[in-house]
């Protein structure tokens, strides 16, 4: 990944060092910048998507594979007009007590629906996107899951993406 704008900044410069300290075996060696690009239209005119590693999915869809020792490289489409009651969490690697009481703390779908209704955001993409964050093979993550979500986001006509790690 290479920076594509002059003012690209690393959001958390020490992030990789922290991860490698906690997970010996050189889990991540990436040291280049995360490319940031300017929004091409004002937010009230933009179509926003939301991408989350919280393991949120519509009820009745195949549960994320939280037991696999290497991870689950699939994602779920979450219709952006979903009601919280239609969604569930499959994830065992982060505390979900708060999210069980109010899903918006980890997956703020109702807040985004409200912001779109108020015109703060131009529109929401038809779908939001969710996966689980337990991935032990970053190259596969980049080649498959990240690319698949990126393609789906483009197909949904997003102008901007809000990414939220769990």
């Amino acid at each position: 990944m290479t920076a594509t704008s002059d003012n690209a900044k690393q959001l958390r410069p020490s992030l990789w060092e922290t991860i490698n300290e906690r997970y010996p075996g050189v889990m991540i060696t990436k040291d280049d910048l995360i490319p940031l690009v300017r929004l091409k239209k004002p937010l009230p005119e933009a179509r926003l998507t939301f991408i989350s590693s919280a393991g949120i999915q519509p009820k009745g869809t195949m549960p994320f594979d939280v037991v696999h020792p290497v991870g689950d490289y699939s994602f779920r489409r979450v219709p952006s007009n979903s009601k919280v009651a239609d969604l569930e969490i499959h994830q065992i690697k982060y505390p979900t007590n708060g999210a069980a009481r109010d899903l918006n703390v980890i997956f703020p779908i109702e807040r985004l629906q409200e912001l779109a209704a108020e015109g703060v955001i131009g529109a929401l993409t038809p779908n939001f996107f969710s996966f689980i964050g337990y991935q032990m093979d970053p190259p596969t993550f980049e080649r498959t899951l990240a690319e698949d979500i990126a393609s789906a986001v483009v197909a949904d006509g997003a102008d901007a993406a809000l990414l939220c790690p769990a």
């Binding site: 075996g25 050189v26 549960p63 696999h68 020792p69 499959h90 065992i92 505390p95 007590n97 970053p138």
Partner: protein, 96 residues
């Protein structure tokens, strides 16, 4: 630990690295807790068989014969979490 790290451990037959990884996975990053989780799953499975209940052995034999090893390995991890959950001592933060 990266997949590359684990595959190198397989090639060099470094079983300590491999089992440490399993314990870390099952213990959510806590190796000692992961070891206890393995024990917990086996104890729960053993308890269920002490009264020698009728089991569907045909299903077991058919599954072992018909499914590939990777699917069975995946099932093995599922069974671990199934028995841990069944024990009632769930240490994980979320849900399967």
């Amino acid at each position: 630990m990266s997949l590359k790290y684990l595959k190198e451990a397989v090639i060099s037959n470094d079983t300590e690295k491999l089992i440490r990884y399993v314990r870390l996975h099952l213990g959510d990053g806590n190796e000692a807790a992961g070891g206890k989780e393995i024990d917990k799953a086996w104890i729960e499975a053993l308890k269920l068989l002490l009264d020698v209940p009728t089991t569907n052995r045909e299903f077991i034999v058919r599954t072992l014969q018909q499914q590939d090893a990777a699917t069975l390995a995946h099932l093995f991890f599922h069974l671990h979490f199934y028995f841990v959950q069944r024990s009632g001592e769930w240490i994980h933060d979320g849900n399967l």
